[in-house]
Symmetry: C2
Subunit: 347 residues, 2 copies
């Protein structure tokens, strides 16, 4: 007399271990063992239980087992946004590495909002994540304090400062942009512009700008205020920034861009204004996205292996979870790809 479709039976509720146990005529403990320590169960019984479970569509429910086992097999990834392929690649690689070990990835995007990041981490801790990967280290101190209080392994990704208090997997953003600037300086440029993402609350970007400044300072140079454009990264921002800079006097002979999209915009606009690149203006990018090598001229940029960062971060965390205390990993070194958008200034 159920109100449900009689064909589906009166109890649409999910089967539990005890149901499988009854159906297979064993105890609930045996059912559990079949799934967790199969070698402790006689083959005949094991097969019977497996068959029954399959027939009933039963699998151990994670919440129950997490509670009993005191392990959730969940780890969290906290990134700014998936709209940036750089982070998407990292997460994709982590997800893959974890999935291979039966670990589930919880994802959260804080949209460059520090309060949101703290909130997200709290939520993940409440969910019992066993480890955490977090992009960047420019976070509110209570974010890290909360993690440390739980004695949970964590790693900061996409950045690597030599003297960071956190375990980190990434590269030295300052060093990377120091290299880019040096490349340009070595070519003979002295008036260099910078188009870069917002530095507020973003340690990676701030470090990049700092790297450029340091390289220039070493040769007694600096960035003129009118040659520094900071804003949301987009092709359009790259375009408008270059347009503005070239209207100054003297105009820069080279511009360093915070990523390839900005550089792409800069390149398009420079050409639209009738400049030849690199003779009239040298341009550098960062990330080495797929189109960069296809541009005309192909973009000089720095290549970062984001999948590798994700994979390493996952490996590090997995090692920690298994109890080892892995040595600090050396930073990745992004490589400068000299293509067609940099040359000596036309004098």
């Amino acid at each position: 007399m159920s109100e449900r479709d009689p064909k589906t039976g009166p109890a649409p509720r999910a089967p539990r271990a005890v149901d499988v146990a009854a159906a297979a005529d064993v105890s609930i403990a045996t059912v559990s063992r079949v799934f967790n320590n199969p070698e402790k169960v006689a083959p005949a019984i094991r097969e019977r239980v497996l068959a029954t479970a399959k027939a009933m569509g039963w699998m151990p429910h994670a919440a129950g087992s997490a509670l009993a086992r005191r392990r959730t097999s969940i780890v969290g990834a906290v990134i700014p946004t998936l709209d940036n392929e750089v982070f998407a690649a990292q997460v994709g690689a982590m997800q893959k590495a974890f999935a291979e070990r039966g670990i589930t990835l919880l994802l959260s995007c804080f949209n460059y909002d520090q309060d949101q990041a703290v909130h997200d981490v709290q939520a993940m801790l409440a969910r019992g994540v066993e480890a955490l990967a977090i992009v960047g280290e420019a976070h509110r101190p209570d974010l890290f304090a909360g993690i440390q209080a739980r004695h949970i392994p964590y790693v900061v990704t996409y950045s690597h400062r030599p003297d960071s208090p956190h375990p980190c997997i990434g590269f030295d953003n300052r060093q990377a942009f120091h290299s880019i600037a040096s490349h340009l300086l070595d070519l003979g440029h002295e008036t260099i512009g910078v188009i870069i993402q917002p530095t507020a609350g973003n340690d990676r970007v701030a470090a990049r700008l700092d790297g450029v400044r340091a390289a220039l300072a070493e040769r007694g140079l600096g960035i003129r205020p009118q040659h520094l454009c900071e804003g949301e990264w987009s092709i359009d921002f790259g375009r408008q920034s270059v347009r503005a800079m070239l209207a100054t006097d003297p105009p820069p002979t080279a511009v360093i861009c915070g990523n390839d999209y900005l550089a792409l915009g800069a390149l398009l606009e420079a050409r639209a204004m009738g400049l030849t690149v690199p003779q009239g203006l040298s341009i550098t990018g960062f990330d080495d996205i797929a189109i960069s090598r296809q541009l005309d001229p192909p973009l000089t940029t720095m290549h970062v292996d984001n999948h590798e960062i994700g994979r390493r971060a996952a490996d590090y965390l997995l090692a920690c979870m298994e109890g080892s205390r892995p040595a600090a990993m050396p930073p990745l070194v992004p490589t400068l790809i000299r293509r067609g958008t940099t040359a000596a200034p036309h004098t």
Copy 2:
């Protein structure tokens, strides 16, 4: 006499509700109520409990509460890969929409492998997801059977067939490419090439190809085998495909590409071969990624709002979870953006 740092105390174990209850001198039920039905607790006590919990760094542990409440507040997203910005955008939008309602997103990438997808869905069901979003409907039947057996709401995204048995949020891939082909036919093209992603196990792509074929057939035309290139999407595949096609006799006067990256490659190669676009060759893309409008000439393509797909999928699932049975949503309609890469064939 603990072996641990005496400052951290002998019990580094996470506090539980009962500890908070004891410290605040109330019962464990009251602690729970403070977090779940705060209005049922006297303000003075509520504040005391809140303060104690905060001081002890306690939050209700999700596994325990999921068990007791029989709700996990988790939903799963199953996508092919995060390396495609199209899916990354969808996931990002879903994550945002869910986070706003206190729901956590579990992510899994099946890498276009049907067995992997089934496995991932199983794992998610075991984790007690309350709803599931899955890209595409070309999956093993037991994937959907497994979900339906659990009476869990789900939605297929990125595709929308009028006669699909599944609730779906997306657009009609067949229809979309029918439109593209018609656009070209209307311009007078009769020899049309196609460069497309692998169709095997990918219903969306297969539908696209089908749409092109149908549009051509309506005018008594077809795709010549030598004018159909199917392979992993990349700029390079676009380039090599165009090169191969243009070596045939007669060469196509237009090529339809499965996405903007392929189209970008096609455009670059056509120009490298000395053809002018669109006079010598018309090219269409799909997705309308950021660079497309910046190309020279700007790419004619179709714009799809992937964030919108993600948002709608999340809204639909949330509605289901709250018990309503939302009406089937109308498909999104991608819009054809006629820019500079299509024109009448040069006769």
